[in-house]
């Protein structure tokens, strides 16, 4: 396969960030990134956006009564 186009490279960004690329697809993307500053900036933004969303996932401390509730439900079944 020849060098990646920018459109093909962008399509691989999330797999790259998720460490799901290996072998030839990884080498092709890294070769493209070495030569394309625009795609490097776009990849940086994808990484930034991912961290931004991850940090904002809902969170809540576990209610103290939950374990008792679960134990009682398990006894009933």
């Amino acid at each position: 396969m020849g060098p990646l186009t920018c459109e093909q490279a962008v399509r691989q960004f999330f797999a790259y960030l998720d460490r799901a690329l290996a072998g030839e697809p990884l080498q092709d993307l890294e070769a493209h990134l070495e030569a394309c500053l625009d795609c490097c900036d776009k990849l940086g933004f994808s990484r930034q956006l991912d961290a931004f969303c991850k940090e904002r996932l809902p969170d809540s401390p576990m209610p103290t009564a939950l374990e008792t509730r679960i134990r009682e439900a398990l006894r009933r079944h």
Binding site: E7, A15, C53, I70
Partner: protein
Amino acid sequence: MSSSTAEVQEDARQRFEALALPHLGQLYRLAVKLKGGAQDAEDLVQETYIRALRAFATLRDPARIRPWLCQILSRLVLDQHRAAPREVAVGDLAEVDRFSLYDLVEQEDPFPYSDSLHRDFLAQFGDGEVRRALLSLPEVYRVPLVLLYVEDLSYRELAELLGCPVGTIMSRLHRARKILERDLWQCAKQRGIVRD
């Protein structure tokens, strides 16, 4: 039920509780991230533990109890969605896959004097707006994305956990982020951060 059957069941329940309850806190936090609200998360975790107890005899490796519980919980979320599908306007999938928030922010240039345009754009959003965007993702995209973020699983592990091919996981995780980008852009338009 004979007394010996009752004893066997009681013994299984006690072994299950000893193995599974230490993971309750992690399961609850995952449930909150998947469902958003505390009450929904509590109900989901309770149902997960009941299903897990019923299927306890099928767990081959007790050391794998946590991923097994995560699997039951995640599939329950997907099953609930199948039973009562929400109206979700994902739109043209090829268009969604090509959506680029980066390009749109650059073209619109809402902060012409900024040295960090894209960072400044993201800083406009409150936590609640980002959470709403995350929670409005259709379950088939939200579940693998939240599992990736929280459990840091590989695509192969996600595929096994959710019972689908690795290629499906890859395309859903790509699309999940693109839908989020699109929703944030819509939010920016509604708030007047960029022109409608």
